[in-house]
Amino acid sequence: MPWFWEGLKSGVRTLRPRAPRLPAGVTPGRPATTAVPAGASLDPELCPVGALAPQDGAIAVDFDHCIHCMRCRPPASPVQWQDDYRWALAAAPPLPPRFQRSIHVRILDAGDCGGCLSELRQLFGPVYSLHRYGIYVSPTPRDADVLLVVGPVTVGMRVALEETYAAMPDPKRVVAVGVCALNGGLFADSFAVVGGASRVVPVDVTVPGCPPPPLAILHALELVTGSSREAREVGDS
């Protein structure tokens, strides 16, 4: 009981993502497609994964492969960084409208390094408090609408991923969280890694980043429920 008062006294710790100014550090930011000023050039060796490529006078960023190594962060390179977090992309229409009020998500660690999972833990923690959006972590895949996959799918976790997906009722969506889940990331070439989640189950929404910050994952969930603008556009098309 004393903890109850303690909790009341400590006040609100929850973040408001729609607030005009978010606290610095909720997102690490990421490189943006940058117009290169005349004369400046890009060191082709700079990006260790080749995610930066010159493209008609600008430097384009391949987010699906950027591993947030920070090597191209200003002032080390001409690439601009932006502090946004709306990183997710939907490849499938959102869940039917009845899911807008509440969804149950299931988390599957398919071999992650701990970074993405830690961000998920933060997302479901007190600061981002997803319960107010009606987003819950489901104790069983039988009740889950959304599967969040983190990490490259290892040989050992392939069956578990298949099983979890199979155990979920329709309609369902799969979100690949982090570049590892997108395509295996840095680990794609390992003999013990199958690759991205899409090698095993159909992936509907992707969130790049290494790791994507909690708000980027929240953005992905908005795309899944269709409560964000981008989601409606995908749904219309």
Binding site: T140, M157, A160, E163, A166, D170
Partner: protein, 702 residues
């Protein structure tokens, strides 16, 4: 009246048919015998008090048979049990056919039924005791039948030994009665003995008869033979043992302490109540943690005997406290519980036989998944499970509810000590009901549901049609007795009326609720309870057990309607089914179980019966196994545990605390005497001197 000789003639015929080389006559003869018994029971019930004089015994009265309501009732119960057993036995015994000669067993069962009937009809001490001995020996023969396994003869012998000890105590208890009345006839004893015996002797008769008959009934503290005898006996013999023979112990207790020599004080009733509570508690505790099906059922029988004894104790107390209405209701509860127990326990023991026959396994840790293979058996045993777990609409609910209700009425006695005793007994009944639910849900789940945990379980085969008929008959009976309790109770009230102490008992038989027969003011009080609901549709009387208040007694009202409950459950189930059909049509997807992401799970990864009982074991560890588990580890290469063996040397609590010390004490005493005999002459002189001194002192003092 012709039924008496006819029945005993058929008994001999059935025994002869059993012994004959043509087994096809055995079952029909057995069924004929049972039907004759049913007819006989009908005669007994319709002619209470009728006597059949057999043989004069010089100076001590005449050997005779007497028709009593209680005897008639128990004859009916026994007949029901044997009817199912006769249907079940042929299919079941086939498995023993190549190892044993089945003929003696068949004959034994026929004679056993005869001896039980004789006990229930006996109208004098000698007939009773002779029939009792006969029954003891015959039941021993039935239990010891499968004598190849070394532990079986020992278990049967323990049963015989305990029974004989009880018999001697009964003889000792009855001797003063016979001497006081100078007659062996029960009727003479009942009329003469109470007035002629001093209180001390009356207490001795009470105590000796309680313990002596308690042995047969499986009451505390003489029940440890029961969980040993049951696993040894063939399943149908177990059914007879639990469904018919245990009742005889209770019959003896009631006969002695209610009919022949009413208990000396209300405290006697409370003692019976306490004994029942202790029995029920220990019985259900062991049932809830046991993994061998037959031992589980045996412990559960002990529990049920305890519950019935609680009812008997409550009834005796109410009667002595001048509350005949409550006494009557407690009697009804006790008899109802007895009837129900005989029905569902017979069902469950026959079911255990079916499981054994189908899978060769009775340890639930190695069973599982039988439901898919034994569809009928599992359905009938589901009924039995629900009945014994007191889940409505089956019969166990009605009687346990009634028992609990009657215990809750103890305030009417306005005696704090008795109220506390009743409250504790009530708590025991409630606890027992809860533990029984866990014990039997575990029994059903671990045996019939989930995955099979052994190969025999995987290969199980359904039993024969007549065996299924036997179980189906009892399952139907369990359901019927559960949904029309008001009919059952009013029938039982006639038997109970013969036991209640009040002379004007007939006036207090409860009026069962029919709005039309009640004063409108009273009836309207029950309408809010839903009393009138559906009264035109449903044939059964009654939402409510009640007795209107009179000048002498406050009214007794128990609100309960398993009948309506049944209808409600049926409607709810139908609705749920319809809803599922309506909403889920075409959208059902079948997958395998979710196993935490692993695809295959072997049966070793699922809960065992032991594991499921563990929480109860942990709570009651002090009773069940105080400090008796030992873990032995085997370690290789200095550090690697390669095996951990857990040995639980737990001994049955009654053996540990009472039987073993008693035996040890007896041995020490024997040793002492032996030493005295081997002692030196000086020692003898010393003993003599001390004895002399003691005698002199005694003389001085008095």
């Amino acid at each position: 009246m012709i039924m008496v000789p006819l029945f005993f003639a058929l008994t001999l015929a059935a025994a002869a048919a059993g012994l004959s080389r043509a087994p096809r006559w055995a079952a029909p003869a057995g069924v004929a015998q049972v039907l004759a018994l049913l007819a006989l029971a009908g005669t007994v019930l319709t002619h209470p008090g009728h006597q059949w004089l057999l043989w004069p015994l010089a100076g001590w009265g005449i050997l005779r048979l007497t028709f009593t309501a209680l005897g008639g009732f128990l004859l009916v119960v026994t007949a029901l049990v044997f009817l199912a057993v006769h249907l079940f036995a042929p299919g079941y015994l086939a498995r023993y056919g190549d190892r044993y000669d089945l003929r003696p067993l068949r004959a034994t069962l026929a004679l056993l039924l005869g001896s039980i009937a004789l006990i229930l009809l006996a109208g004098d001490v000698v007939t009773f005791l002779v029939a009792w001995e006969l029954m003891s020996v015959l039941s021993y023969i039935a239990v010891v039948f499968d004598h190849e396994a070394p532990e079986n003869p020992r278990a049967a012998y323990a049963m015989l030994g305990a029974g004989e000890l009880g018999f001697l105590m009964v003889v000792a208890a009855w001797l003063p009665l016979v001497l006081a009345a100078h007659s062996i006839a029960f009727s003479t004893i009942a009329a003469a003995a109470p007035a002629r015996l001093p209180t001390g002797v009356r207490w001795a008769v009470f105590g000796l008869s309680l313990v002596g008959f308690g042995v047969k009934a499986g009451l505390f503290p003489t029940m440890s033979w029961l969980p040993r005898a049951h696993p040894a006996a063939p399943a149908h013999a177990s059914a007879v043992l639990s469904g018919a023979i245990l009742n005889l112990g209770l019959y003896g207790i009631i006969l002695t302490n209610v009919q022949l020599l009413p208990a000396p004080s209300p405290a006697a009733g409370a003692i019976v109540l306490g004994l029942g509570a202790a029995t029920a508690f220990l019985g259900i505790l062991y049932a809830a943690t046991e993994t061998h099906i037959k031992r589980l059922l045996a412990h559960s029988s002990i529990e049920n005997m305890g519950l019935i004894t609680i009812g008997i104790g409550a009834a005796m107390t109410f009667d002595r406290m001048g509350l005949p209405v409550l006494g009557l209701l407690a009697w009804i509860a006790a008899l109802y519980q007895l009837l129900n127990h005989s029905v569902y326990k017979t069902l469950l023991f026959l079911g255990a036989g079916a499981i054994d026959q189908a899978s060769g396994e009775l340890n639930m840790d190695h069973l599982g998944g039988l439901g898919r293979r034994l569809r009928w058996t599992s359905a009938f045993l589901l009924a039995g499970t629900m009945a014994i777990a007191a889940i409505p609409p089956f019969n166990g609910f009605a009687s346990e509810w009634l028992l609990l209700q009657s215990l809750l009425r103890s305030v009417a006695m306005a005696n704090p000590a008795l109220e506390v005793a009743f409250a504790l007994a009530g708590a025991t009944v409630a606890l027992a009901a809860g533990l029984a639910a866990t014990a039997f849900i575990r029994f059903y789940g671990m045996t019939f549901l989930g995955r099979h945990r052994s190969d025999h379980a995987a290969r199980a085969r359904e039993v024969t049609v007549s065996q299924r008929a036997a179980m189906g008959f009892l399952a139907a009976l369990a359901l019927m007795l559960g949904i029309v309790p008001t009919y059952v109770a009013s029938g039982l009230a006639r038997v109970a009326g013969s036991l209640a102490q009040s002379r004007d008992v007939q006036a207090f038989i409860p009026t069962f609720f029919r709005p039309a027969t009640l004063p409108p003011a009273l009836a309207s009080a029950f309408y809010p309870l839903g009393a009138a609901l559906g009264q035109r549709v449903l044939p059964a009387p009654g939402v409510v057990f009640m007795h209107p208040s009179t000048r002498l007694h406050a009214g007794v009202v128990f609100a309960m309607s398993p009948t309506y409950l049944t209808v409600a459950i049926a409607v709810a189930l139908a609705l749920a089914f319809a809803l599922a059909q309506l909403l889920g049509r075409g959208r059902v997807r079948r997958g395998h179980s979710w196993m935490g992401g692993a695809r295959t799970v072997d049966a070793g990864l699922t809960y065992t019966a032991t594991g499921m009982a563990r929480p109860i074991w942990v709570i009651f560890r002090a009773v069940l196994s105080p400090g008796q588990t030992v873990d032995r580890e085997e370690v290789v290469a200095e550090h690697f545990r390669v095996s951990v063996r857990r040995e639980d040397g737990a001994r049955y609590v009654v053996d540990r605390l009472i039987v073993d010390p008693a035996i040890r004490g007896a041995r020490t005493l024997a040793h002492l005497f032996a030493r005295m005999h081997r002692g030196s002459v000086n020692a003898y002189v010393g003993y003599a001197f001390i004895a002399l001194l003691a005698a002199l002192l005694l003389v001085r003092i008095t």
